[in-house]
């Protein structure tokens, strides 16, 4: 029992069950009205600012942001339930995803009062759209090696460098950039990093698309050429960037989007198997079981976050197992599929999208190799 990595499972009470059904009914109406077409991996690939604003109007954004900052002042477990319902139906949620998951909690924890007032109400209404700028061309899993530098100037800083894999930067208003505000000390590689809130429309910002293997544009390269950041847009403590970005990993890694990116494909496969368009196979049940168990685990982690418990290791477990599973679903359905004999456009579109998105599942937000290391460390092995 000493080595239990994940908090005990919890059971949803009636209030959460009601919330689920409320969100579910709304989404069913939206699908029926053709507002969106259910898809896979929509938290990266489906961008709809109108839909995002509608969620804000319904009180389903900024749920864990206190009401004094325009949020809903509700709980992490409520947010969890809303998030799951949005994901499983394949709704277009990319526009608010980063702000809702990471930016809001980070601002609440590290932001100044002025920063909170400036950004949180807009985030909660779904009007202010954020990105994240951590990775760089030469720093993949090795984040401490970022080269973007922040130089002290009158009244603020000038940022110079290149960020990559910034999803939605071409549509977003601002992003958080991790930069080196003091020279690299090889003995203390994690020191001297700071976070800055960067207006993506500021002079010196150039955004270039990174086209994905399927031909889509979700990611960007963001070039910062001496972009001026006023002092009041430094996030948290100068030089504390490393601990700030890593402290939020529990939030970034344990969410249901690390399990449910391909849920629409799994549901379509269940339908197709029931209709004899796919062969009946016990592998479907195996995947259903794993997703159901991961739903329990992910919910358990959200109760720990709610209770302000450290959940970094638990989050790594959820992400490791969850992203593997959501990718395995794509591969599994593919092994059942024969081309050339029947056209099943819905299923094959979901399948192809899932196959094209899959490689990213076990890379983004910490590779599986990095996560196994995190789990090993959590077990006392390193």
């Amino acid at each position: 029992m000493d080595h239990r990595l994940v908090p005990p499972v919890a059971t949803e009470g009636p209030a959460l069950a009601e919330l689920r059904l409320e969100v579910r009914a709304f989404l069913a109406e939206q699908v029926a009205a053709g507002v969106f077409v259910p898809h896979v991996d929509t938290w990266l690939t489906r961008w709809d600012r109108d839909f995002t604003r509608e969620l804000g109007r319904r009180g389903w954004l900024g749920m864990v942001i206190p009401t004094e900052y325009g949020g809903q002042g509700r709980s992490y477990v409520e947010r969890f339930v809303v998030t799951e319902e949005l994901l499983v139906v394949g709704a277009p949620v990319a526009a608010h995803w980063v702000a809702e998951r990471q930016i809001g909690p980070s601002l609440l924890r590290y932001g100044t009062e002025e920063q909170k007032q400036a950004f949180l109400p807009g985030i909660s209404r779904g009007e202010v759209v954020f990105g994240i700028g951590m990775s760089e061309p030469d720093s993949g899993s090795d984040l401490a090696s970022v080269r973007t530098r922040a130089e002290r100037v009158e009244g603020g800083w000038r940022l110079t460098g290149t960020k990559v894999w910034t999803s939605g930067a071409h549509e977003a208003d601002a992003f958080f950039a991790l930069a080196r505000s003091a020279p690299l000390d090889p003995a203390h590689r994690h020191d001297g990093l700071s976070q800055f809130i960067v207006d993506l429309r500021a002079p010196g910002v150039t955004i270039r698309p990174i086209i994905s293997m399927g031909g889509d544009h979700h990611f960007n390269e963001v070039h910062l050429d001496g972009v001026f950041i006023p002092d009041d847009r430094v996030l948290g403590e100068l030089g504390d960037g490393w601990s700030q970005v890593t402290s939020e990993l529990g939030f970034e890694r344990s969410g249901p989007e690390r399990v449910l990116s391909t849920f629409q494909l799994l549901a379509a496969a269940a339908q197709a198997m029931g209709d004899a368009r796919l062969p009946t196979d016990p592998g479907l049940g195996r995947h259903v079981a794993r997703v159901a168990a991961l739903h329990q685990m992910s919910f358990a982690v959200s109760t720990a976050l709610e209770a302000h418990e450290n959940a970094d290791t638990a989050a790594a477990v959820v992400k490791l197992l969850g992203t593997t599973e959501e990718g395995d679903i794509a591969d599994y359905v593919d092994t059942l599929t024969a081309s050339g004999w029947a056209l099943d456009d819905d299923l094959s579109q979901l399948l192809h999208a899932a196959i094209l998105q899959r490689p990213g599942f076990t890379l983004r937000g910490g590779t599986n190799e990095v996560l196994r290391g995190v789990v090993a460390r959590g077990l006392g092995m390193r």
């Binding site: 198997m273 259903v288 079981a289 685990m297 197992l321 290391g373 077990l379 390193r382």
Partner: protein, 373 residues
């Protein structure tokens, strides 16, 4: 009377009461008691052997503590606890490879007697479902029981009979784990004299047995995580502890992660069973999820642990096989992994595209409340 009504209150660690239903972990005092008890057993037991016999001394101690009939009603001499506590007991006992028939005697046998309104003298019970000819195979601990509780399907009726072991034919056999797993042949008259019970008892028996096995397997897995970690940190190869090798770290991380998944699936089913006294319409799904996850995780855990431990872990004197063999033996009981996956496939395909998620969250393929149209 639901299990829930019997459980002590736990502090709810959430700021928002009402979001979470009944707690899902056993009373910490009980867990401490059990942990100490089985740590003692582990410390004092003899070197492992290839055959495993009932530990009557341990059974006696458990009996004194009221643990052998933990879930029996107090009226019938039980301790009146629920499945959450029973699962903790099963898991910790399995983690200590304790050779005692807790699941058979209490959760299955005792429950059947109570459901049938039959008396329970507290004597050790084995349990089985004989076929129409009265033969039951792989009846664990049968030879050690004073009587055997039989659940028998007879021309569309289910009957429960409590048959003294002296009245049955018994061929001694052992399962993969070396435990007694006997063939029992009943006199049909004894079965025909059984008490008729509700049809639901038949299905519930299978679910209860399956979930009890899950609780045991997960408990054994959790002990394996400890053993594997200890070994990795202690064993030196190529001049350093093997825990420093990335390949070993990844093996152990996978073992621990799969164990956590199996634990989550099992605890979720146990919580649902406890909250509804097995009346929840989602029990079949919940137990199937647990049995499937536990079964597939077992492949990863057993294999990975032996790989980390190396040849030393394959010797009779080592603790590891006292955990891995029962894990694999229990995996095949109360339905094969393949059957449970087929059950889940059938549930999922009958739910179809629009109700699969409802199945996952409630265990039922149809929603209780249809969205307004």
């Amino acid at each position: 009377m639901t299990d829930q009504s019997r459980r002590p209150d736990h502090p709810d660690h959430l700021d928002h009461p009402g979001h979470l239903a009944a707690p899902t972990t056993a009373d910490p005092d009980l867990v401490d008691l059990l942990t100490g008890l089985f740590a003692d057993h582990r410390a004092s037991r003899p070197t492992p052997t290839a055959v495993v016999d009932l530990d009557r001394a341990l059974w006696g101690r458990l009996e004194e503590l009221g643990l052998t009939r933990l879930t029996g009603s107090e009226a019938s001499g039980g301790s009146g606890a629920g499945w959450v506590e029973a699962a903790a007991l099963l898991g910790l006992a399995a983690g200590a490879a304790a050779p005692v028939p807790l699941a058979e005697h209490d959760l299955l046998g005792g429950w059947l007697l109570e459901a049938a309104g039959l008396p329970n003298d507290g004597g050790l019970r084995a349990v089985c479902r004989p076929d129409p000819s009265g033969v039951a195979l792989n009846v664990t601990w049968a030879r050690d029981a004073s009587s055997i509780v039989a659940l028998w399907e007879d021309r569309d009726e289910w009957r429960v009979a409590d048959v003294p072991v002296g009245r049955v034919g018994l061929e001694e056999r052992r399962n993969l784990a070396g435990e007694p797993s006997d063939t029992v042949e009943f006199d049909l008259a004894d079965l025909e004299a059984g008490v008729v019970v509700d049809h639901a008892i038949g299905e519930q028996f299978h679910l209860r047995g399956a979930l009890a096995r899950c609780a045991q397997v997960v408990g054994a897995m959790e002990r394996i995580v400890e053993i594997t970690l200890t070994h990795a940190n202690d064993r030196v190869q190529f001049g350093r502890p093997i825990a420093r090798f990335q390949a070993v770290q990844h093996l152990v991380a996978d073992i621990a992660a799969e164990t956590a998944l199996a634990r989550a699936a099992t605890d979720a089913a146990v919580a649902r069973a406890a909250a509804s006294d097995w009346q929840d319409g989602g029990m079949l799904f919940a137990v199937a999820v647990a049995k499937s996850c536990v079964g597939h995780s077992a492949s990863v855990v057993v294999r990975g642990a032996h790989q980390v431990l190396g040849a030393i872990g394959t010797t009779l004197e080592h603790e590891l096989h006292t955990l891995t063999k029962p894990i694999l033996a229990r995996r095949t009981e109360f339905g094969s992994l393949h059957e449970w996956d087929e059950t889940l496939t059938a549930l999922a395909t009958s739910a179809g595209h629009d109700r699969l998620w409802n199945l996952m969250t409630t265990g039922r393929a149809t929603s209780r409340r249809r969205p307004a149209e």
